[in-house]
């Protein structure tokens, strides 16, 4: 006992080091998961509370400063509404015609999915990983592998997918993470590719495995292909800013800037869509 007391610094150092190394070695064991669960349960209420206080202060401040902007916005919105009302008749006619043409072509009606709105309460505090934590969890029906989208200028675009769901919080891996692969295609030329994060410190993505025959232009729109069983087809992902033909590869690569800025995103929607179990099982077996 006296020895431990005298050498407590070295003993503690060895114990902590061993704990960390053992923990890293047995990550898949239930012990580690349970410990992380306890840790999450301890720290998340503080994160939520902190976010709530900050949100409250921001709201009160915005009430003072944004009043004139809101008045101006209201005026603009009224003008816009009048315009929309005038075109609504044309729109319903176009919609009917679209439905008729779809029917003629025997195309399936594009499915719409139920979604859950959520706020981002925390971002990964470390520079090594890129994740977002939202204030919705399994109690709201959220499950792992559900796609997450956000709106930008009235259009919905991909943010990422759920990788961890707990009671009232979930973790999202964004498309800018090098650990997430998404099946995509170029909207105009329809050439497919595989999208993933460019690097650990940029908010860009790259699309690999695009056929060398594809003509890629700057500002080409990239959308989800629907392959992979997680993301529905046709969701906006980003636009091309650069393309490279790799000498040593049979494919070419495009660098893409996502429509949703990882640094600015605050509100997201989780699409309550169960992933294609068969595809995920197949991918899991391959890995």
């Amino acid at each position: 006992m006296e020895f431990l007391e005298r050498n407590k610094t070295v003993v503690a150092f060895i114990s902590f080091t061993l704990f960390c190394i053992i923990s890293l070695s047995v990550q898949s064991s239930s012990f580690t998961l349970t410990f992380e669960g306890i840790g999450s349960a301890l720290i998340m209420p503080f994160q939520k509370g902190y976010d709530g206080i900050q949100g409250g202060i921001r709201t009160i401040w915005a009430g003072f400063t944004d009043l004139s902007e809101v008045r101006e916005e209201l005026h603009k919105t009224r003008v816009k509404l009048q315009n929309y009302e005038s075109i609504s008749d044309d729109f319903s006619e176009i919609k009917r015609e679209n439905e008729r043409l779809r029917h003629l072509l025997e195309m399936k009606e594009r499915l719409t999915f139920e979604s859950v709105p959520a706020s981002i309460i925390s971002k990964d505090p470390d520079n090594w990983f890129r994740t977002l934590i939202i204030n919705r969890g399994t109690s709201d029906g959220i499950k792992e592998n559900m796609p997450v989208i956000a709106f930008r200028k009235g259009q919905k675009a991909v943010v990422g997918k759920i990788i961890e769901a707990r009671g009232s919080i979930s973790r999202i891996i964004p498309i800018i993470s090098p650990d997430l692969n998404v099946g995509v295609k170029l909207q105009e030329s329809r050439y497919p590719g595989l999208l993933y994060g460019y690097s650990s410190n940029t908010a860009l993505c790259k699309v690999d495995y695009i056929s060398r025959g594809a003509v890629i232009k700057k500002n080409d729109i990239v959308i989800t292909s629907g392959q992979g069983g997680i993301f529905p087809p046709g969701l906006l992902v980003g636009r091309v800013i650069k393309s490279d033909i790799l000498e040593s590869s049979a494919y070419q690569r495009a660098v893409v800037v996502p429509f949703i800025d990882y640094h600015l995103v605050e509100e997201v929607f989780v699409i309550k869509r169960d992933p294609d179990g068969e595809i995920l099982k197949l991918l899991g077996e391959q890995q």
């Binding site: 992380e36 840790g39 090594w128 934590i133």
Partner: protein, 167 residues
């Protein structure tokens, strides 16, 4: 003494919460943000010795692992090692000036990054490109921020520093 531990706990929790809050992303430079928790741990180790440094490094590091996507221990172990090493030298060897603090934090962050990369390579997934993407920019940023955080922490721990004979 208990009050000191409570203050240390609050400072660590606050640094982790601020660092994880979405609004903290605004201060990213070259895609990275400073590791506030690590700066606090280096300060505690530098001011109060190896034992305090490694204990706060271990506890803070575990919470950092929990709120991050990293496997448990990946971010904690480098903090334990640096908490131990810096405490061995402490204020006795490095005088508390802006230049020494900045250099100390730069070197400590560099070593922390190398240990993290090594562990990530073995237990998770690591790429050598992260030296340029993460480790170097984060080390510079930490070195830049550290003198200001040290001044702030000197005020918070004024009574404890007096008791230790550093003031």
């Amino acid at each position: 003494m208990i009050v000191s531990y409570i203050i240390m706990g609050i400072v660590i929790a606050a640094s982790l919460l601020i660092q994880g809050h979405p609004s903290f992303d605004v201060i990213r430079i070259a895609g990275v943000k400073p590791d506030m928790l690590f700066i606090v741990i280096v300060y505690l180790s530098y001011s109060f010795g190896s034992f305090t440094g490694e204990v706060t490094g271990f506890i803070g590091g575990l919470f950092h692992d929990v709120v991050s996507r990293s496997p448990l221990g990946l971010l904690a172990l480098p903090k334990v090692v640096l908490g131990f090493l810096i405490g061995m030298f402490g204020r006795g060897m490095f005088k508390n000036t802006i230049v020494t603090v900045a250099i100390m934090l730069f070197l400590a962050s560099l070593l922390k990054g190398i240990i993290t990369l090594f562990l990530a390579y073995i237990f998770h997934q690591g790429s050598i490109s992260q030296v340029l993407d993460v480790i170097l920019p984060e080390s510079f940023y930490n070195a830049l921020m550290a003198p200001f955080i040290f001044i702030l922490l000197d005020k918070i721990f004024e009574r404890e520093l007096e008791r230790e004979g550093h003031l």
